[in-house]
C-alpha cells in the first residue's frame, strides 16, 4: 500500500491493528530474512498507544504512527546498537541520534534495529556478525548492503519506512537489490550526530520507502541544520510538496543527462532496462543528452583511499577501553590488538590496516591529500553538468 494511503488509513483506522499485523509478519518471516538485529516491540507498543490517542484528537505528528526500522549504526536511546559487529554486541546507546529525536517527535514508531554489514563495510549484506540478510524478493539472493536490513525490512513489509546510511552506495545498492526506494541525501543535509559513521566526509543517513512520497516525507523530518553536526546546512525545502505537486507534464522540456561512463562494464540486462527508461522519458518530452564525466574513472581508487583513511581514524575508539569487548594483553598495543582480533571481522580489519598504512606520515602527501584533490575534480564534473541539465540519470548497480 502506498505511504499516503497508509497514513490516511491510520488516521481513521486502528493503529494497534496495523502494528500487530506488522509484528505477525516479522515473526513469520524474519527468521529467514534476518533483517533485524534487535526488536524493540515493547517500546514500540507503548508509543503506538500514545500516538493512537494523538490521532484520536487529531494532534499527531507528520509520521503519524508509521512503523520505522533503523539501521543499527544509528543510536536509539536505551536500545542495543551493534553496528553489526561483535565489538558492540552488548553496547546500549545512551542517547537518541538527532534524526531519531526528530522521528519520535513526528510520531514515527521505531520497531527495531536493522542488520547491516559490519561497521558498514560491505555492499552485499553478508559481513554482519549477526548473519547475512536475505533478499525478501528472492531468498536465494543477497539483499545488498551495507544497509541490508533497512532495505529488506521495507521490502518484506516489516516496516513502512526505514533509515539507513550511505557512504558509497549503502542505501542505494540494497534499495536497488530489494526493489524499494532509497535516497542518499546530499552530504550535510541530514545530521550524523549519533551515527557511528564509516567515513565522516561522505556518509550520511537517508530514507528507505515503498514510494517517493515516503522518501520525501521521511527526508522532510530528518533533514536540516543540527548544531551538533557542524557540517549540516539548513533545509527550507519541503521535499514532500515537491513530490505532491509533481505533474506528469512537468517532465516536458526537462534536460536530462546520462553519462556514457555509466554504461561501461555493466550487465546487458540492466543497461537495456535503463536505456528503455530513458526512452520513456524522451517520449514524454524530456530532452535527453549523453554527457561525459571524464574524471569518474578515478572514483573507485579515490573512494577507497578516503574511506579507509577516515575509517581507520573513526575506528580508533573501538579499542576495548572505551567501547567493545576488552581482551587484556601485556601492554596497550597487545590489548588493543587482542580486542580487535577477537571482535572484528576480516573486512573491517582489512580496512583499518589499509587506512593506517595510507595515513602514515611518510605517505600522507602521496595518497590521502592527493585523493582529496582528485575528489574536487570529480565534483567539478558533476557541477558542470548540473549547470546545464536538470537531472543526471544512471543505473544504481552494474550487476544483478
Amino acid at each position: 500500500m502506498f505511504t499516503k494511503d497508509l497514513i490516511e488509513n491510520l488516521s481513521c483506522g486502528s493503529l494497534e491493528e496495523q502494528f500487530h499485523k506488522k509484528i505477525e509478519t516479522i515473526q513469520k518471516k524474519d527468521n529467514e530474512i534476518n533483517s533485524f538485529i534487535t526488536l524493540c516491540l515493547e517500546d514500540a507498543e507503548k508509543s503506538s498507544k500514545i500516538i493512537q490517542k494523538k490521532i484520536n484528537d487529531g494532534s499527531q505528528g507528520r509520521l503519524s504512527g508509521l512503523i520505522i526500522s533503523i539501521k543499527d549504526n544509528i543510536a536509539v536511546s536505551n536500545i542495543r546498537m551493534t553496528c553489526g559487529s561483535k565489538a558492540l554486541e552488548n553496547y546500549i546507546a545512551p542517547y537518541d541520534a538527532t534524526i531519531i529525536n526528530s522521528i519520535k517527535k513526528e510520531d514515527g514508531i521505531i520497531i527495531g534495529k536493522c542488520n547491516m554489514d559490519e561497521f558498514a563495510c560491505g555492499s552485499d549484506g553478508t559481513s554482519s556478525y549477526f548473519g547475512l540478510t536475505k533478499n525478501p524478493r528472492n531468498v536465494d539472493y543477497v539483499s545488498g548492503g551495507s544497509s541490508s536490513g533497512s532495505a529488506a525490512s521495507v521490502a518484506a513489509d516489516f516496516a513502512d519506512l526505514s533509515v539507513g546510511s550511505d557512504t558509497g552506495g549503502s542505501i542505494r545498492c540494497p534499495a536497488s537489490f530489494c526493489g524499494v526506494y532509497g535516497l542518499k541525501p546530499s552530504y550535510g543535509l541530514v545530521s550524523r550526530y549519533g551515527v557511528s559513521d564509516m567515513a565522516m566526509s561522505m556518509e550520511g543517513p537517508g530514507p528507505f520507502a515503498k514510494d517517493t512520497y515516503g522518501i520525501a516525507l521521511l527526508l522532510d523530518v530528518i533533514a536540516g541544520k543540527d548544531p551538533r553536526d557542524t557540517m549540516t546546512v539548513d533545509s527550507n525545502n519541503s521535499y514532500l510538496s515537491v513530490v505532491e505537486n509533481y505533474r506528469y507534464e512537468n517532465i516536458k522540456n526537462m534536460k536530462i543527462a546520462y553519462a556514457k561512463e555509466f554504461f561501461e562494464g555493466i550487465d546487458e540486462k540492466i543497461k537495456n532496462i535503463i536505456l528503455d527508461k530513458i526512452g520513456i522519458l524522451e517520449s514524454q518530452g524530456a530532452k535527453i543528452e549523453q554527457v561525459s564525466l571524464p574524471n569518474i574513472k578515478y572514483v573507485i581508487p579515490i573512494y577507497y583511499l578516503i574511506v579507509f583513511s577516515e575509517f581507520s581514524s573513526a575506528m580508533s575508539k573501538f579499542d576495548g577501553f572505551k567501547y567493545g569487548n576488552y581482551i587484556p594483553g601485556q601492554d596497550i598495543v597487545e590489548a588493543v590488538s587482542n580486542t580487535r582480533e577477537s571482535s572484528m571481522g576480516t573486512e573491517v580489519k582489512r580496512r583499518i590496516l589499509l587506512g593506517t598504512f595510507i595515513t602514515m606520515e611518510e605517505f600522507r602527501g602521496r595518497w590521502y591529500t592527493k585523493a582529496l584533490k582528485a575528489r574536487s575534480a570529480i565534483k567539478e564534473d558533476f557541477e558542470r553538468i548540473f549547470k546545464t541539465h536538470d537531472l543526471l540519470i544512471g543505473p544504481t548497480m552494474p550487476m544483478l
Binding site: 567515513a199 557542524t230 557540517m231 581507520s312 593506517t356 606520515e361 611518510e362
Partner: protein, 352 residues
C-alpha cells in the same frame, strides 16, 4: 629578535591513562589546550629563554593561563650542525628549557666530536639533576597519523571579527612598556620591573594619577615589589592601595617623612593596610625640622661625643658623618637630614 609562529593547535586534554596501574585519570579531561609551534628561529638557549619569558608574559596579560603548576609546558626541539633533531618533552619551566638546551648542546657536541652520531629521538628532562635522558629511540612516523578532521568546518575570521577581537584585547606588555617610557619618562629598568606583573603595573598607574610618576614608579618597582616578593604577596592579595603610596610620597615631598621610615611604612602597610596619616602620628614619623629643637639635640650629641668634635676640628671629615649618625639615632631617623647637616656644620664651625 623575532620568532615566527607556524601553527597553533587547539586541543582538549583527554585525560591520562596509566597502563601499569590500569587507571584512567580524568581530572584534566576536557581542559582546553593550545599548542604553539614556532619556526626554527631560535639560535641560542638565551634566545629561547627570552622568547619564552616574553610569550608567557603576553599570555599572562591575556589572562589565558591557568594558575596551577605544570599548566605551561614546552616540547623543546634542538639540532646542531651535523646532527639530527632531538625533542625534549614536557619541560615545565623557563629555567628548565634553558638548562636542558645548555645541556643538550654540550652533550651533542661531545657525541659528534668523539665520532658518534645524533639520531632522531625523544628525550626527557630531569628537573632534579638538570640533565636530559633518552626516552624512546627512533620516532616511528606511524605515531603521527594525522588527517584533516572532516567534521570540523573551516572557521574564517572576518576582518570585522578580527578588529572586534583587537578592540577587546588588553594592552600587550610590549606596548605597555613603550607607553610607560613615553608617558611617564620612566627608566627602562623601572618599567621592566613594573610590567613584569600586570597587577603591579595597573597599581602603579593608579598611584601616578595622584603623585609624581617618577617617584611612584620608583617606589612600586623597588621597595613595594621587594616587600611583596619577600612576603609572597601580590598587590591584589596585599592590603596596600595606591592611595597609601600617594600619601606616602606626599609626606616625603613635604619633608615630613624620611626615606628610611617610608620603607618601613611599605613593609607594614602591605600587611596591615593602615592609613598613612594614622601611622605617621602613631609611629611619630614626622621629621624634626624646627631649628631650635635640632640645635638642642645637636648640643647634646656634641656634649656626649667630645672626641668626634675634636677630630672634626683637626680636619677629619668623617667625624661629621659620625655625629650626624648619632643625631639620626637620637631622633629615631626623624631629623631632617639636610637641615641637620647644615646646622651641625655651623655649630662645629662656631665652636672652632
Amino acid at each position: 629578535m623575532g620568532v615566527g609562529i607556524w601553527e597553533i593547535h587547539i586541543e582538549e586534554d583527554p585525560g591520562r591513562y596509566e597502563l601499569r596501574e590500569g587507571k584512567v585519570d580524568l581530572n584534566r579531561c576536557g581542559i582546553p589546550l593550545a599548542e604553539i609551534v614556532t619556526a626554527p628561529d631560535i639560535k641560542s638557549p638565551e634566545y629561547a629563554r627570552e622568547f619564552l619569558r616574553d610569550l608567557l608574559l603576553s599570555l599572562d596579560y591575556l589572562g589565558v593561563i591557568r594558575g596551577e603548576s605544570g599548566s605551561v609546558r614546552a616540547d623543546v626541539n634542538i639540532s646542531i650542525m651535523g646532527g639530527n633533531r632531538i625533542e625534549i618533552k614536557n619541560v615545565n619551566s623557563v629555567k628548565g628549557v634553558y638548562k636542558a638546551l645548555k645541556y643538550e648542546i654540550v652533550r651533542q657536541k661531545a657525541v659528534l666530536q668523539r665520532g658518534g652520531t645524533i639520531t632522531m629521538e625523544t628525550r626527557h628532562f630531569d628537573e632534579g639533576s638538570m640533565i636530559t635522558k633518552a626516552m624512546r629511540k627512533k620516532e616511528t612516523l606511524a605515531d603521527y597519523r594525522y588527517i584533516p578532521d572532516p567534521d570540523l568546518v573551516p572557521f574564517y575570521v572576518s576582518p570585522e571579527g578580527l578588529s572586534r577581537i583587537e578592540s577587546i584585547l588588553p594592552e600587550s606588555p610590549h606596548n605597555k612598556k613603550k607607553r610607560f617610557i613615553e608617558e611617564y619618562s620612566l627608566g627602562e629598568e623601572i618599567v621592566d620591573a613594573l610590567i613584569s606583573d600586570l597587577y603591579l603595573s595597573d597599581f602603579f598607574e593608579e598611584c601616578a594619577k595622584d603623585s609624581n610618576p617618577l617617584e611612584a614608579g620608583k617606589w612600586c618597582a623597588t621597595e613595594l615589589k621587594r616587600r611583596l616578593n619577600e612576603k609572597n604577596l601580590s598587590v591584589s592579595t596585599s592590603m596596600i592601595t595606591p592611595k597609601h603610596i600617594s600619601d606616602m610620597i606626599d609626606f616625603i615631598e613635604k619633608g615630613e617623612l624620611s626615606v628610611k621610615n617610608a620603607k618601613w611604612i611599605i613593609g607594614d602597610v602591605v600587611d596591615t593596610g593602615e592609613e598613612i596619616p594614622t601611622l605617621m602620628s602613631k609611629k611619630n614619623f614626622y621629621q624634626i625640622r624646627s631649628e631650635d629643637t635640632l640645635i638642642k639635640i645637636l648640643e647634646k650629641v656634641m656634649r656626649e661625643n667630645p672626641k668626634a668634635v675634636l677630630d672634626y676640628k683637626s680636619g677629619n671629615q668623617n667625624a661629621l658623618h659620625f655625629l650626624f649618625g648619632k643625631v639620626v639615632n637620637e631622633t629615631e631617623g626623624r631629623a631632617d637630614p639636610s637641615k641637620t647637616i647644615k646646622l651641625l656644620k655651623d655649630k662645629l664651625y662656631m665652636e672652632a
